[in-house]
Symmetry: C2
Subunit: 348 residues, 2 copies
């Protein structure tokens, strides 16, 4: 199996999307002409496998690029849509997506039903519009389960449809902050990864490393553990010292341990921008970070500038994109994506 | 407003339930003949208020009892159903319920759909039967959200129906272990208390005291904070030492702080039986405890014997009642209720 590759979609979808596609570098391992590339389950292209052949329109440029360099090739702009092959690890998918879009912005889908006439249908149309306007400017989306749960089961059915409409190459992080143990936790993993088909999920690690177990076996998926959240109350437990170390550093160890144990899932960390001081980041491993707190919560990106990290990190904005005062969600996403890029270029 | 009283239901419902009702002591504050007692929102009896009058069948005995003692009276067995007035604080409701049933058993409603032909309808019938068989032997029920979420939105719609069918005087603890901050956490509170109409909910306190804020204003409701869970991994963070105290003791302080601040909600604690050593209980305030870990998890009730506590505590059994090897759910609930009573009599 090719652990990481590309797949092609038909002309209609490609034409629609092709215009906005920028040339981008991709990692490719051992790609051969004529080889069958497995694609992601739920792929719209039939049996989930695509034959790699030179005759396919738009493909020639890619193969030439592959021949130029076995490790990387360049996707040239064209009518055909090139999508990230979703069989890689979660962090590889996210990294590829950040490379394609040049954006580290995660847009939080936290819809407030009272702003939409208390109508679930209106919320759905709003989110569809937000995704349509912002999709080329974001690394990923992060719907927060709470807003949908408060709408009752119909809200959750709507969440599933919203996730289903997000293109397969855009990772979806379900912000659920779940925690439980054993068989119960396994049901949460089922709900997040199998029912909602999220690519990653946030987890509250307070119950300990063994509580993560049911999530660790999911290939190609990610989990983000709460390490230091963006509220003042994160000082109450997370930032407390224990034996010369901080509690959140032990959470960081959970991520390192899963990596050392070669678990199928990738383990990232949630670090609130408002509390992401240099010494906080210094105490955490180079795992993918999910960084909330920009925008309405007032976090300052300069705090990231001193940190040199290689894992794919994303900064989340929810209210600032969905319900900002000026412009459209698309314009606001663009603004935040550029602001984050400037800060990350300073850092990396 | 009478902070704690009783209400009456119609004959049909009373006849169905009356047979199993045992005489029990109730606390009554300032109850007067002819007084209008506010009843719980969602009450099936119309406008949510019942007039107290001697002419109502079955009422005479109660009034006589009230006259005997202004603080307590005895409900005699009869065709009319006497229900706890749900306007008191959560801990008062739970205490009254424990007094009525003589049981500190909490039955965990954790249905495994694969044991019911993977049919949500079958799960619903099973839970209905479990509640019917066990209701007179339990202090409360604790459905765990994970099992219902794994069934998708229809599973959650079913959970709402199941909760709706549990008599109003039996507290329902929604085991959701939610955690978030601000507006997001407020949506979780809405989902738990307003959509599902749970009487109490479990919360993961890792994000700090301020994260609890949206739950603290709900009158007559309860929250249980995870303090020491029943898994070995509870040692990873919860039982770590910080400045001469344990992390779970700081969680205990959250409960004390809410009490000191006279918040509307009652704050209890989750303490896993397997880890409820004497020194653990000694480090926690006298808040209502929710104690999982009996039955399949193999916890030992003798660990509770040395602890003298006055708050209403309940011990949860899920699998042991729902899917035990011997007898019916009713017989198994009876067995566990008696086992817990023996242990608690030793303790209190």
């Amino acid at each position: 199996m090719v652990p990481f590759g590309i797949s092609l979609s038909g002309p209609a979808y490609g034409q629609q999307r092709g215009k906005g596609c920028s040339p981008a570098l991709w990692k490719v391992k051992g790609l051969q002409e004529g080889e069958l590339l497995p694609t992601r389950a739920g792929d719209r292209q039939g049996d989930g496998r695509k034959e790699v052949k030179k005759g396919f329109p738009g493909w020639e440029g890619v193969l030439r690029a592959v021949e130029m360099n076995r490790k990387h090739f360049c996707i040239s702009e064209g009518w055909a849509m090139f999508r990230v092959q979703m069989d890689g690890r979660y962090s590889e998918q996210l990294e590829a997506r950040i490379a394609v879009t040049g954006s580290n912005l995660c847009v939080g889908l936290d819809p407030r039903i009272e702003k939409h006439g208390n109508e679930i249908g209106e919320v759905e149309r709003f989110l569809e519009k937000v995704v349509e306007e912002t999709v080329d400017k974001v690394a990923c989306y992060k719907p927060n389960s709470a807003y949908f749960e408060a709408m009752g089961p119909e809200g959750l059915a709507m969440l599933k449809r919203v996730i289903g409409r997000i293109p397969d190459d855009v990772p979806v992080i379900l912000d659920a902050k779940r925690s439980d143990i054993g068989e119960t936790q396994r049901r949460y993993a089922q709900a997040c990864f199998e029912f909602f088909e999220a690519d990653a999920v946030t987890i509250n690690p307070f119950m300990g490393y063994d509580s993560l177990e049911p999530f660790l076996g999911y290939e190609g998926k990610g989990i983000y553990l709460l390490a230091v959240t963006s509220n003042p109350g994160s000082a109450d437990l997370q930032r407390r010292e224990s034996g010369g170390r901080k509690i959140f550093e032990f959470v960081g160890e959970f991520a390192e341990r899963a990596l050392a144990e070669q678990r199928a899932v990738d383990v990232g960390l949630v670090v609130g921008l408002t509390n992401a001081a240099e010494e906080v980041l210094a105490g955490l491993p180079d795992s993918p970070l999910l960084i909330p707190g920009l925008g309405a919560q007032g976090g300052d990106l300069s705090s990231l500038a001193g940190s040199v990290r290689s894992a794919p990190n994303v900064v989340n904005v929810s209210r600032g994109v969905l319900y900002g005062d000026e412009g459209t969600p698309g314009a606001r996403a663009n603004h935040y994506a550029m602001e984050i890029s400037r800060a990350f270029r300073g850092a990396c």
